[in-house]
């Protein structure tokens, strides 16, 4: 029971952090509940499909199927997050103005919502596939699901969901005028972390072999398999022994994100407001 609880909690916790951030980012936008719920549902369905086909998936790309698949969906999530931040840099001001004027959003922010729903789906798919594989494996070994396993998994799910709720409510305590800046920053680091994870999978598959030396080792300080280490890994991509290539990709993602946000920022000089 404890094993089921721990593994389910760990994975739901990781997906929950991301969902909590997305909920805070989209706070007040009409229809966001449906989008996020749709993302979760798609992720769960995808997780089951991936879990069923893990054996076959591993065989692809000369035994590197899992790595290529993970790198692919993580890269896609990075692109979606980048797109979202750039979109918000351009339209965030209009959005905020309308939010204040109408009291609630009537904006067609659905484009950006769709990008974030995809991110939610990918997060749930990745963590969910591990949960499904693990629970299914344990159930198969026992010759059927047991109440202790279902109970443990259920408790893990509830505790993990509380993390999601806490993340969301915590972010909402940030005053509205700072919230946009905080969430944009969170999303930029989230994207950089995911990009570094994606490249790590390509390095593991020996598809990318350049700059593969470990740059530092902070596992004595904070192991990335500890509780806090895992949280920071999910949020900002903390790794206790990063490779040079991971650092390059991490930095490049942040730089590209910031440059794109600046380039496509809403031109403020066009509407001089003289009081």
């Amino acid at each position: 029971m404890l094993a089921a609880l721990l593994i389910v909690f760990r994975e739901v916790f990781e997906a929950g952090l991301i969902i909590g951030i997305v909920m805070a980012v989209t706070a007040g936008v009409a229809g966001r509940g449906l989008w996020v719920a749709g993302g979760v549902a798609a992720g769960v369905a995808g997780a089951c499909v991936v879990a069923v086909f893990t054996g076959g998936l591993s065989e692809l790309f000369g035994g590197n199927g899992q790595e290529v698949f993970n790198a692919g969906i993580l890269s896609f999530a990075v692109i979606m997050l980048t797109w979202h931040n750039v979109w918000m840099a351009r339209h965030g001001r209009e959005l905020a103005a309308e939010l204040q004027a109408a009291g609630e959003a009537v904006v067609a922010g659905s484009k950006s919502l769709a990008a974030l729903a995809v991110v939610v789906a990918i997060a749930v798919l990745r963590e969910g596939a591990e949960v499904v594989l693990f629970l299914y494996g344990v159930a198969a070994a026992q010759g059927g699901a047991s109440w202790s396993m279902v109970g443990g998994g259920g408790i893990g799910l509830v505790l993990g969901s509380l993390v999601c709720l806490a993340t969301y409510l915590g972010l909402l305590t940030i005053p509205a005028r700072y919230l946009f800046g905080v969430t944009s920053t969170l999303i930029a680091f989230l994207a950089a972390g995911l990009a570094a994870q994606a490249i790590a999978f390509l390095q593991q598959a020996a598809i990318v072999t350049a700059l593969d030396q470990t740059v530092w080792d902070t596992s004595w300080l904070l192991s990335d398999s500890s509780f806090l280490g895992r949280a920071l890994h999910t949020l900002i991509g903390y790794v206790d022994q990063p490779t040079a290539m991971q650092l390059v990709v991490y930095t490049a993602t942040l730089v590209v994100m910031v440059v794109l946000m600046k380039v496509f920022a809403a031109p403020s000089a066009e509407h001089p407001q003289t009081a």
């Binding site: 593991q204 598959a205 990318v208 350049a210």
Partner: protein, 119 residues
Amino acid sequence: MSRASPSTIAVCAAAALFAAAAIAGAQVARAEDPVNLSVTIKDYKFEPAELHAPPGKPIAIHVKNLNTIPSEFESSDLHFEKIVPVGSEAVVRVRPLQPGRYTFFDDFHRATQGTLVVP
């Protein structure tokens, strides 16, 4: 400028970044054949629990899961994590290593631990 164009460019730029990174890496292709090591997971133990490899050579670890539950074969020291379903075999690649002791484990069952020793 149309509304769609900034976002389109953003997507293209992000995609280009990944392509560039991938190409940069691919330039240094697998020049050397890896040293092949084998390990089995059975009764929640690695067999053998200690692997040996020469320094400075790329390594491929072949892991076979003969346990009753799936395994997530993982190592922070060696930078890999891979799910190995029951009864199947997987390969993880490890970059050339400095002398030292490197631990690996089953992330679905943390008590299952092993060591790779490079003299």
